[in-house]
């Protein structure tokens, strides 16, 4: 196998390596939460409420005496799941619309681009707020709302890529052979956008996680006692001065996860397309 030779540029890319390490930590805590967390995320210990970090409670406790470390560790499951689901939905919507707009052009393009510009013009959080208010507060509704308002980037990117690819000689050749439009879009154009999609999807995960956490923080997403980082942060603000560890650690976890995906995405972009390096 040629793997070692191909791995060399990967290992020489410090951003990529740092991103992978951060994400491995997050992934590890999400998958192994049951073994890593010393307590259940909802087990209360009222006598030791608001306790600072100690041997028994590595990151301290909240006002119900729940173990912050355990809650943060379990929270990574929610964060990752939300990130992946949102990104999957927005990728499917954005990529399909972008392909249609870029390939067909004309009226199809004008309609799709108008809708894309509309969602782009509205602040996503506000739009998501409106959708969640209509559907009722719950994590699932937040996920749907965020996905529905944030596919515009994909649609625009894939549209412009499809516009340039549809004039490539191999697409002309395919048309001359009698390939259907559907087949040209999915067999000839889409595969040549995978690199872009992977990079954009990776870079969109932190935005998705941050938006859902923000909505949970506002009380519209996950409901207590779920160990959603947004929920923990929300509960922590009341004790910001007396027990800052309640908000600091879920905040740090959030930053690390977002940073990990950003570094991974930037690293991937450099690795997949060396020309884009600035």
């Amino acid at each position: 196998m040629k793997l070692p030779a191909q791995l060399r540029p990967v290992l020489r890319n410090p951003q990529f390596v740092a991103g992978v390490i951060l994400l491995l930590v997050v992934l590890f805590s999400a998958l192994g939460a049951d073994m890593i967390a010393p307590k259940s995320f909802e087990e209360m210990d009222i006598p030791s409420s608001l306790a600072p970090p100690s041997r028994q409670y590595p990151l301290g406790t909240d006002h119900y005496g729940r173990c912050i470390f355990s809650r943060v560790v379990y929270g990574s499951r929610i964060a990752l799941r939300v990130g992946l689901i949102v990104v999957t939905i927005e990728t499917v919507i954005g990529v399909s619309l972008g392909l249609l707009a870029g390939y067909y052009g004309g009226r199809v393009d004008r309609v799709i681009s108008f809708v894309t510009d509309l969602t782009w013009a509205l602040p996503p959080i506000v739009l998501a707020l409106a959708i969640v208010t209509a559907l009722g507060p719950s994590l699932n509704n937040v996920v749907i709302a965020i996905a529905l308002v944030s596919w515009a980037g994909y649609s625009r990117l894939i549209r412009s890529k499809a516009q340039s690819l549809k004039n490539m000689p191999y697409v002309e050749a395919a048309r001359a052979l009698g390939e259907s439009d559907f087949s040209i879009m999915f067999r000839y154009i889409l595969p040549n956008t995978y690199g872009l999609i992977i990079v954009l999807a990776t870079l969109s995960v932190p935005a998705a996680i941050l938006s859902t956490t923000a909505l949970s923080f506002l009380g519209l997403g996950s409901q207590p006692p779920a160990p959603d980082w947004g929920v923990i942060l929300n509960e922590g603000i009341a004790y910001m001065h007396s027990a800052p560890w309640i908000s600091i650690f879920p905040g740090l976890a959030l930053v690390c996860t977002a940073l990990g995906f950003n570094l991974l995405g930037e690293g991937l972009r450099d690795l997949l397309d060396p020309r884009m390096k600035v």
Partner: protein
């Protein structure tokens, strides 16, 4: 106008492709780029028709009209008697399968995400051939174009330019078409590979009785390949004739200028007569009135500025669009 008979595989009758540009939001102005303007020609079965002209003269657009990769804006194009512009979808597909196309840039002619096998065998799959039959035909075709079967599992970026072009040719001939449209098939290749590809094309033509539309701006290549040659300038066909005659005695000043601009084949020819054109080719949006060549031509008279010369027959096989074709003696010397 040229005669039309059963030996013609492709006939263009006053074919036109104008691209409309709309400018301005309030005071809209529509202007047309006349990429192909009133071109009439016929390609006989089994011949190689060479189409030459400088960049932007409309050669490629003309080629794209034949498989209807772009729609006509006027005139007619027919293939084996069928009007290309009016046939329905399934009929069009059937006609397209009787043509193959090879493009200029071999690197972008094959999908980067498909193996050579995938690209070359695809036409058979689309036609609904069985897997075993397709595999047999694939090997046969790959051998015809001298592409080693070990290259089948490679991706285009793992091949040399010549190998990529052989794969493109294999894809173009795997359905055993009657017409091959060759759009500058060798201009992206280096000279030794160019010669191999040209000889391969000649062999294939002999073996299958193929008809070629061979587009190029390389005059020595087109002479080597073609039975008849058409010369295009600013979207118009200015001269058509048998290759040898056209080279020996060009009738149109533009043809003469093209010929004297190509490098001499022998040192003796350095002393040949030169027909230089003044200035650069004008814009296709706003071509000169009268004969398109008049601002650049050394033989311009008043009539050239006013009246556009039509393509007319001179002798049995030659056609030219010049008012003074008979008077000008344009031998370049060869």
């Amino acid at each position: 106008m040229q005669s039309r008979d059963a030996s013609d595989l492709v006939v263009l009758d006053r074919a036109q492709k104008h691209f409309v540009i709309t400018k301005g939001l309030i005071r809209r102005s529509h202007r047309a780029i006349r990429a192909v303007d009133d071109v009439s020609l016929s390609i006989h079965r089994g011949e190689t028709f060479g189409l030459v002209g400088e960049s932007g003269s409309g050669k490629t657009t003309l080629a794209r009209l034949i498989p209807r990769l772009t729609r006509l804006t006027g005139g007619r194009v027919s293939f084996d008697g069928r009007d290309i512009d009016t046939v329905g979808g399934s009929e069009l597909t059937r006609i397209r399968r009787r043509m193959g196309i090879v493009f200029q840039d071999p690197a972008s002619s094959l999908s980067p995400r498909a193996t050579v096998r995938g690209s070359v065998i695809r036409p058979l799959q689309l036609q609904g051939a069985g897997a075993r039959e397709a595999a047999g035909r694939l090997l046969e075709t790959v051998e015809l174009v001298n592409l080693g079967p070990e290259l089948l599992e490679r991706y285009p970026h793992q091949l040399s330019g010549g190998q990529q072009q052989r794969a493109s040719i294999a894809r173009a001939i795997i359905l055993r078409p009657e017409l091959l449209i060759l759009d500058e098939p060798t201009s992206a290749l280096d000279v030794s590979v160019q010669a191999q590809i040209l000889n391969l094309l000649l062999e294939l033509q002999r073996e299958f009785g193929l008809t070629y539309l061979f587009i190029t701006h390389n005059l020595s290549v087109v002479r080597y390949m073609s039975d008849r040659i058409g010369v295009m300038y600013l979207g118009k066909l200015v001269e058509v004739g048998p290759a040898a005659e056209l080279y020996a005695r060009p009738l149109h000043p533009y043809t003469a200028a093209l010929l004297s601009a190509s490098p001499p084949q022998t040192p003796r020819l350095r002393q040949r007569r030169k027909f230089a054109l003044a200035g650069d080719p004008p814009s296709l949006i706003d071509p000169p009135a009268g004969c398109h060549l008049h601002p650049r031509c050394a033989f311009t008279r008043d009539i050239c500025r006013q009246e556009r010369p039509a393509l007319r027959a001179i002798g049995l096989a030659r056609f030219v669009a010049c008012h003074f074709a008979e008077q000008l003696a344009l031998q370049v010397g060869d």
